[in-house]
């Protein structure tokens, strides 16, 4: 094998733990705060981790959310009141 079925393997491989978009999105804010704190979020939420590995839309959103949280960490968040 020259390695070319890898893309196909990646596309067709499914994980029964995958929770789907709705469940992943419902906890994405908590998941991302764990990541930002250096905590193993995948260990706490294996079904969400599995989903993010397979769903580009949710993975991209998780990246964006993490970037926003980290940016706030760097610049100091807004103070309410």
């Amino acid at each position: 094998m020259t390695g070319w079925p890898e893309g196909l393997e990646r596309l067709l491989t499914t994980d029964p733990r995958d929770v789907g978009c709705d469940t992943a999105r419902a906890v994405l804010h908590v998941y991302v705060e764990l990541l930002a704190a250096g905590i193993d979020a995948a260990e706490h939420y294996p079904g969400v981790a599995s989903h993010l590995a397979a769903c580009d839309a949710c993975a991209e959103a998780a990246d964006g959310l993490l970037a926003a949280v980290q940016d706030e960490g760097l610049h100091g968040g807004p103070q309410p009141g």
Partner: protein, 222 residues
Amino acid sequence: MKSEGSESLPQVRVVSPEVARENRAWVDDLSSNGDRREFASRRLYEVLLRAARAEVGRRAARLRLVGPEVDDIAHQAAADALLAICGKVETFRGDCKFTTWAYKFVIFDVAAKVNRHFWQRSGVAFDDDDWDRLPARLGIEPEAHAESRELMQAVHRAVDENLTAKQRIVFVALVLNGMPTDVLADQLGATQNAIYKMMFDARRKLRTALVDAGYLAEQQIA
């Protein structure tokens, strides 16, 4: 795939007292009236706009989108997210920083707007049935196309013989045409979750068919 909610997700996480205080201030301010609410909304808008701009920038660079409409998207997304957040502020459970929860709205709003914009620009029809695109879409280098032809034909056959009409539409739109899931969901009047589930079942069926036909090895899952 697990049915929705079947994974026992811890629902409430404990945040620090300082974060809890900040969160309560945001919720109280946004739930109040008059100047207090107005002032909090304006502050939140600035926070959302900053995140929206960063997110639009991140996505636009990848999709090679440029022009004034890119910054318009950031402003619209921040405004739409603010409206959604103010309407749902009582559903905030306090299991993270308020701003993290708020960012979630703006990130998904930016995604929807950028994806729609990207798709309109691409000029591709979601049901365009061009199977010559498959190797490139699977990341197969041009020099390996000849070698991969038999496998690609097997995939095409497996799609035709094993998928339902709906699953086939989803496969063609997402895989052959690179349509973003949220745009396809809008097009079909379905939720993203439903589209994902359809594609998940299609992926499983195709893999089984290709294993049975001897093209792929059995899946080894941890």
